[in-house]
């Protein structure tokens, strides 16, 4: 064999590997974008820029919700040098086990990118940690913005601002793990307005994940849009006063400005200081609120499902007057054989019946509305009559969420024919089966916001604005939906009798709400007492004042406190006095309420 030919074999082998390399280069560089994507993932980073969240002011411009800084302790595993775990955990006040779990999770997530080790460290604590942090390379503090509630009031209205959960992230791609979101109240309703829009900066990072320069000259960057400040309709002083009055009680207070539908105060008792749910103690405090047997997280003012009791008699009066089933002069015998009654009266006209809360009177009034005699069958007749009645009740906002901007309102229950069909079977019930709703008992359920709205309707003599808490978004004013009045379909003239009766309830000696009297102010009110036989009754009172130029309409509901005039009426009166006069003339009246305690049956 000629050895000279081996030159070509060797040349061939060398060339072959050259070709293999070029083919490999082609497959890495040209045939696929995977490696380009991998390099981008390593070198390019999107830095989110969080705009500061809008602040919240009360109706007089007092700052209610501010922002404050808090710190998340972060770790970039690759930069972390060996360190004394026990000393470090001691410094950051974390269990060694919890720390290790958290740190291992960070390592699994990424060696280069930072993860949170401990969330929400208060500035005072962080200052102490920061002093020592230089000893622990790879760890650093990241500033987060959380809320600061200057007055510590209105937790149920303001809601909560906290880390977005998996469901929030799933629902809306705007949110990433670690982002914060408004979780209740107006923080939730006006989330988009308050948060603004986060911006992004695209940067190149080095292998230690330090930012080196902006990517592509910053052409892809987007600026953050600042969140808008909100002015809300609450009056901080009134809200604070109402919360004070409701201490050690279960129930609610709602105050509305009738001529606008603006909610002046909304209290659900028991409540909590919203600052408890900010910062490192949030978890513990939230669990405590959740475990509390008095259920503070349950917003009684909008979610309480109460029988309205006697205050409902005014609604019955108004729609019966509009329908022409009665006139103010209509007298009905107080026949206590069908349904019980209180007090000395026997044959009241409408005003008297409202003042005395005469049950047989309104049993008869509703009977006239339900049994219209259009059908021979009293079952069929009741079916038609009840549904027509239900429509009219709806127009007072009962059984609806009132188009309010407060989230998670429970609508209550206004039973119609299908409701009773489900219970008794179709055409198996007549008015005689369901009459207890005529006096606001039975299956009828409404919430305290609807009660206050009823008071506003009567104050306005026939219409209401959807009760709301927003006064202005930034400087844009109020959303239009809150500027349109909603009519109840009952004409103004029919309110005269009802309003007069309400004034007498408060003003005449022997009226059921004498305790609601305020010197110099004409208060109109109506008590209600929801029976829980044999347990103590719930005490209800709605009112508005002054009679001829109503500025405030109130509902007060105090669970388990007995007769409506005894507890609910004076609370309402104190609020009205505080709102209209800015002071309380009779400190003893106030003290009596502050001392009272009703925390269960």
């Amino acid at each position: 064999m000629n050895l000279g030919n081996r030159r070509y074999i060797i040349t061939g082998i060398f060339l072959l590997f050259g070709v293999i390399f070029i083919a490999r280069l082609f497959s890495l560089q040209v045939a696929t974008d995977d490696w380009r994507a991998k390099a981008a993932e390593l070198t390019e980073e999107k830095v989110k820029i969080y705009p500061s969240r809008g602040l919240i002011y009360d109706r007089n411009g007092e700052l209610l919700v501010a922002n404050r800084a808090i710190y998340d302790l972060m770790a970039t595993p690759r930069k972390v040098a060996p360190f004394d775990t026990v000393a470090f955990c001691d410094l950051i006040k974390m269990d060694v086990e919890d720390f290790e779990e958290s740190f291992n999770k960070a390592k699994r997530y990424s060696r280069y990118k930072a993860s949170v080790i401990k969330k929400q460290i208060d500035p005072e604590d962080f200052a102490r940690i920061a002093e020592q942090l230089h000893k622990y390379p790879g760890f650093y503090g990241q500033t987060r913005t959380v809320r600061n509630y200057t007055r510590g009031i209105g937790a149920h209205v303001l809601g909560d601002f906290a880390e977005a959960g998996p469901k929030d992230i799933e629902r809306n791609s705007y949110y990433m793990p670690g982002d914060y979101i408004g979780k209740g109240g107006i923080e939730r309703t006006y989330e988009e307005e308050l948060r603004g829009r986060k911006g992004a900066k695209y940067v190149l990072v080095d292998v230690r994940n330090n930012v080196q320069e902006s990517f592509d000259g910053g052409r892809l960057d987007t600026a953050a849009v600042q969140g808008k400040d909100l002015t809300i309709t609450l009056e901080a002083d009134l809200q604070a006063y109402a919360e004070k009055l409701m201490q050690n009680k279960l129930g609610s207070v709602v105050a509305i400005e009738p001529k606008t539908g603006e909610i002046l105060a909304l209290v659900s008792a028991p409540g909590w200081d919203p600052n408890l749910l900010v910062g490192s103690q949030r978890g513990t405090n939230y669990a405590q609120l959740q475990g509390d047997s008095l259920k503070p997280l349950y917003t009684r003012a909008i979610q309480g499902q109460y029988r309205p009791g006697s205050i409902f008699k005014m609604v019955q009066s108004l729609i019966a007057l509009q329908d022409g089933k009665i006139t103010p002069a209509t007298r009905i015998t107080c026949n206590r054989g069908i349904i019980g009654c209180h007090g000395a009266h026997s044959y009241d006209d409408l005003e008297g019946a409202i003042m005395h809360s005469c049950n047989p009177y309104f049993h008869q009034v509703m009977k006239r509305m339900v049994e219209q005699g259009e059908e021979d069958s009293r079952f069929k007749d009741a079916q038609i009559g009840l549904n027509a009645w239900k429509e009219k009740i709806h127009r007072f906002g009962f059984g609806t969420d009132l188009n309010s901007d407060i989230p998670r309102i429970l609508k209550g229950n206004v039973p119609g024919s299908s409701y009773y069909d489900n219970i008794y079977g179709e055409l198996s019930w007549a008015y005689s089966t369901i009459y207890s709703i005529s006096i606001g008992e039975g299956e009828l359920l409404i919430n305290p916001l609807q009660m206050a709205n009823l008071s506003a309707i009567i104050a306005n003599r026939g219409y209401y604005y959807p009760p709301h808490v927003i006064k202005s978004v930034g400087t844009d004013g109020k959303p239009e939906q809150f500027l349109e009045p909603v009519s109840t379909g009952v004409d103004e003239q029919h309110f005269e009798t009802v309003v007069n009766a309400m004034q007498k309830v408060v003003d005449t000696p022997g009226g059921t709400a004498r305790r609601a009297r305020i010197e110099g102010i004409e208060v109109c009110g109506k008590t209600g007492t929801v029976q829980n036989d044999p347990l103590p009754d719930h005490s209800v009172f709605i009112a508005f004042a002054p009679k001829d130029d109503p500025q405030i309409a109130v509902s007060v509901y105090v669970e388990w406190s007995g007769f409506g005039g005894t507890w609910a009426a004076p609370i309402a009166s104190l609020l009205i006095e505080q709102y209209l006069n800015d002071s309380i003339a009779n400190p003893a009246k106030e003290q009596r309420i502050l001392d009272a305690e009703f925390l269960g049956p």
């Binding site: 050895l3 000279g4 081996r6 030159r7 074999i9 060797i10 040349t11 082998i13 060398f14 060339l15 590997f17 050259g18 293999i20 390399f21 070029i22 490999r24 280069l25 082609f26 890495l28 560089q29 040209v30 696929t32 995977d34 490696w35 380009r36 991998k38 390099a39 981008a40 390593l42 070198t43 390019e44 060696r111 190149l204 990072v205 080095d206 292998v207 080196q212």
Partner: protein, 441 residues
């Protein structure tokens, strides 16, 4: 040296090779500059920075090249044995008093510069091999001579293995190409190639587990061994059916020996990987086949591939590769220097550099073939083989088709010893080639 002789050598000097050499060194330097680029310190003549130091080395190497090109070829021949023995001594010394860098005892520290004797051992071994084969001449066919030739390569390789520096040992193994050119049986290439394939299959099957009926979960290596036996049997019956009876006995023996060898080799590879290699070494092999369990183990190679792969057709532009600039690739200016080319110059640039290397190597083979003296030819083939092995291992590594073995890319990688070693290696060949018409050896 007479003036006419100097002229003659200048006339016969292979300017193509010299041009390729300078081109590679210059491109290499730009890549080092890019790998160390710092926008705040852009000075080219910053002798504290790596690219500045490399400039000094390039100057020194130019001087060395001039000296070597003006040295009589006869000197290299006479110098072969002495230099070979001297470097052997250095290789022994470095094991005793050398500095440990990156786990291998391979450096002599001289101030801030270090010297790596193994870089020079390549040249001296090539010289020695050329001298030895030229001495023996036609007797190279004898087995004893071949064993002696193997020792010439094996002794320095063995000493380097002790450092340990597996990459350089593989480079020495490449000298088998030179031996093959001088008459070593071609079977050695076939056996070598077969061994690589067997090793790959053994590694792949050894790393999988198979459910064997009756024996539970065991290594997949047994399936491979079983398949080998079946293959052997098939070939055995093939031989019986298709060859003439008088050749059968010989063929049976070959089949039986090959089968036994293959089985033993596969088993040895599997055993070696599972039982002898250190965990981190085993991991490097698994990384190559994408079987690593520790996701961080292939970090180097993933980043290298990302740097190269993100270059696309034309690259991101010089000094404009974030993977390069922001130090995502480890050892970017030494062993992984090729990534810089891949990222910044893309497919075209990378292909150009690979082509330059192949062109240089083939040019050296061309030079070797035109020599009249066997010494020069063997030396030429040794140079080509050494360059080729470096290219194969280094570029193969950064492209993820060879295991991670630290070995410089000739003329490119930052480092004085390496550049000087390759310069000497190549310049001796150029000088020998330059006087090819005036010698009769």
């Amino acid at each position: 040296m007479s003036a006419t002789r100097r002229q003659e050598i200048r006339k016969n000097l292979d300017w193509v090779t010299l041009g390729l050499y300078f081109l590679l060194v210059l491109i290499g330097w730009t890549a080092i500059y890019s790998a160390n680029f710092d926008p705040d310190h852009q000075a080219i003549f910053d002798f504290k920075a790596d690219h500045g130091k490399q400039l000094i080395w390039m100057g020194i190497c130019t001087f060395i090249a001039l000296v070597l090109l003006n040295t009589e070829g006869e000197f290299f021949i006479r110098f072969s044995v002495i230099s070979y023995v001297s470097v052997l001594v250095l290789l022994i010394l470095v094991l005793i008093i050398g500095k440990k860098v990156g786990g291998a005892r391979s450096w002599f520290g001289v101030g801030s510069f270090g010297i790596q004797p193994s870089e020079f051992a390549k040249t001296t071994t090539a010289l020695m091999l050329a001298w030895f084969i030229a001495q023996t001449g036609p007797r190279f066919k004898a087995l004893s001579t071949r064993i002696q030739a193997a020792l010439v390569i094996g002794i320095p390789a063995g000493l380097i293995l002790l450092q340990p520096d597996a990459g350089t040992v593989l480079v020495f193994a490449g000298l088998v190409f030179a031996l093959y050119r001088e008459g070593l049986s071609g079977n050695i290439l076939i056996v070598g190639f077969g061994a690589i394939i067997l090793a790959i299959v053994a590694i792949l099957s050894g790393a999988t587990t198979v459910e064997y009926p009756g024996f539970g979960e065991q290594s997949g290596i047994y399936v491979m061994l079983f398949v080998l036996v079946i293959l052997g049997a098939l070939i055995f019956f093939g031989v019986r059916s298709f060859t003439l009876p008088r050749y059968r006995r010989k063929n049976y023996r070959i089949v039986a020996l090959s089968l036994a060898g293959a089985l033993a080799f596969s088993f040895a590879v599997n055993f070696g990987i599972e039982e002898i290699l250190q965990p981190h070494q085993r991991e490097r092999i698994y990384v190559l086949f994408g079987m690593n369990e520790n996701p961080d183990a292939d970090y180097n190679i993933r980043h290298a591939k990302a740097a190269i792969g993100s270059g696309g057709w034309t690259g991101k532009g010089y000094l404009n590769g974030p993977m390069t600039r922001y130090k995502f690739v480890p050892e970017q200016h030494t062993d992984f220097i090729f990534c810089t080319i891949g990222e910044e110059w893309g497919f075209f640039g990378s292909m150009f550099v690979v082509a330059l290397f192949i062109a240089l190597i083939l040019r050296v083979i061309h030079l070797a073939e035109r020599q009249r003296s066997q010494f020069s030819r063997v030396y030429g083939y040794s140079v080509a083989s050494i360059l080729f092995m470096h290219l194969l291992i280094n570029v193969g590594m950064v492209l993820g088709i060879a295991p991670v073995i630290g070995i410089p890319l000739p003329f490119f990688s930052y480092g004085g010893s390496s550049l000087m070693g390759f310069t000497i290696l190549l310049m001796i060949m150029l000088r020998l080639d330059g006087e090819r018409f005036s010698v009769f050896r």
